[in-house]
């Protein structure tokens, strides 16, 4: 079966590092090298590198790119400055979430301005098809799926900055969070952005597939002094959970709209000039804003060690009020944490609920999201 899975350019490197490879969204990806907890803590306390080449990378060239994307994304694209990266959603006409994405506005070394959309691996094909279906009749924009001819590396943790600095000839500490630029690695273009999915400081690099192994080795050589280690999808999941970052297929799906998901910040109803924007799904989401949401995303913490996991029912006073969408033992907090949706909107923080953990009702307390915030 393995030979049918897609492999990132670093596949053999992962195997050589002792990774356990799993099928993730049709890619063979490292879930862990040693221990998820060790990789998690190394990201919180030092620095780790994740291969995130499975994420979809779709480039838009041509003067119409901004307008096309502005109509597709819940946040404004037309007012983006060069070097800006934005978290946004792509919704269907009913306001259901098709994907959560990052959109980059970049300029190539030769002065070509373009947009880059980074989408979830599991949604790449769906999003490419969705965009194709929305294609304007008179198009002066070109879309290229660059996923397989590039690699994407996430270097995350408090020592990420010091690790990567020697690889670049400019001061990368001057790059602000959610900024990116086209720079070079080994004389080839490389996109560096201060982004990540761990709740720590960190950077992501997008580079040519054929140079990703050498750059990885350079990162590990530079990071040795900071005890760099590789980290897999297992730690990526526990890290994003502590930071309450939603994961598509868990906290996000086509039946949920951005306001229910607690992602109102990722919806711009108006542009910078104060005019109403017209993006796909905006009418439905405006209606939800007027009518109010019917469910809401909450955070739960439990005592003991047993985690409330995806699909477990959440109870209040013996009545089912919702369901867990993600949950795990939190390596940082040392107790179980979970996110889920409930149909009670007025639950104060600290409300005592219960979760049905495989037939056993365990007490759970509603708590502030995110569970963990770096200081």
């Amino acid at each position: 079966m393995d030979n049918q899975l897609l492999q990132t350019p670093l596949y053999q490197w992962h195997v050589d590092q002792g990774a356990r490879m799993v099928d993730f969204a049709n890619w063979s990806m490292p879930v862990q090298y040693q221990s998820i907890v060790q990789e998690h803590q190394a990201t919180r306390n030092a620095v780790t590198m994740f291969d995130v080449s499975h994420m979809g990378r779709i480039r838009f060239d041509g003067p119409g790119g901004g307008e096309l994307l502005d109509r597709l994304l819940t946040r404004s694209v037309l007012d983006m400055q060069l070097g800006q990266v934005r978290y946004s959603l792509i919704c269907n006409h009913e306001g259901g979430i098709l994907d959560d994405v990052l959109i980059y506005h970049l300029e190539s070394p030769t002065g070509v301005r373009y947009f880059l959309l980074v989408v979830n691996a599991s949604n790449r094909q769906k999003i490419v098809e969705w965009i194709t279906a929305q294609w304007p009749d008179e198009s002066d924009v070109e879309m290229q799926d660059r996923t397989v001819d590039t690699a994407m590396l996430a270097v995350q943790g408090p020592a990420a900055l010091e690790t990567l600095q020697p690889l670049f000839d400019f001061d990368i500490s001057a790059m602000k969070y959610f900024r990116g630029k086209v720079t070079t690695q080994m004389k080839k273009p490389c996109i560096l952005s201060r982004t990540g999915y761990t709740g720590e400081d960190g950077f992501e690099l997008i580079l040519k597939a054929d140079q990703s192994l050498q750059v990885t080795q350079n990162i590990f050589a530079a990071g040795r002094a900071h005890d760099i280690s590789p980290a897999g999808l297992g730690a990526r999941d526990t890290l994003r959970m502590e930071s309450a970052m939603p994961l598509y297929g868990h906290e996000l799906n086509e039946q949920l709209n951005p306001l229910e998901a607690g992602l109102g910040f990722a919806v711009s109803f108006q542009d910078q000039a104060g005019n109403d924007r017209d993006f796909i799904g905006c009418q439905a989401i405006r209606q939800t804003k007027t009518d109010g949401v019917k469910r809401t995303r909450i955070g739960l913490q439990l005592d003991g060690k047993r985690a409330a996991r995806e699909g477990y029912a959440i109870y209040r006073d013996g009545q089912t009020i919702g369901e867990v969408t993600s949950g795990s033992f939190s390596p940082t907090l040392q107790h179980p944490i979970a996110m889920g949706y409930v149909n009670q909107l007025d639950l104060p923080l600290g409300s005592a609920l219960e979760v049905d953990v495989r037939g056993k009702m365990l007490p759970a307390i509603t708590c502030q999201l995110p569970f963990y915030k770096r200081t």
Binding site: Q32, K305, R306, F329
Partner: protein, 130 residues
Amino acid sequence: MNAEELMYCPTHEWVSTTEENGETVATVGISAFAVEQLTDLVYMELPSVGNQVAAGQEFGEVESVKAVSPMYSPVSGEVIAVNDGLADQLETLNDDPYTAGWIMKVKLSGALPDNLLDFAAYQKQCAESS
């Protein structure tokens, strides 16, 4: 206990038997391979003394950061002892899964099932699955 002298379930539990006062008593645990595959263990749900267990049926569960895995009994009978301290010292399973890491002792109600694997056959299964 010596790993090479134990019998194994395809589901990664080990079992050894002794004769005590004319009864056959089975000691049950989970294999080093299972512990390594699970990694990051956080919780174990143990059976209670007096429980009846049946070969191939779930008798408890082990939870890691990533997932929950059921443990299946290799044998049928009555649970006569449980390693109560284990749940609070799961690292024992990493250090010594075959002696200090025993999970339960079962007084057999019949013969050992015939689907148990010897060490060589179990090693082969592990090699093929990893």
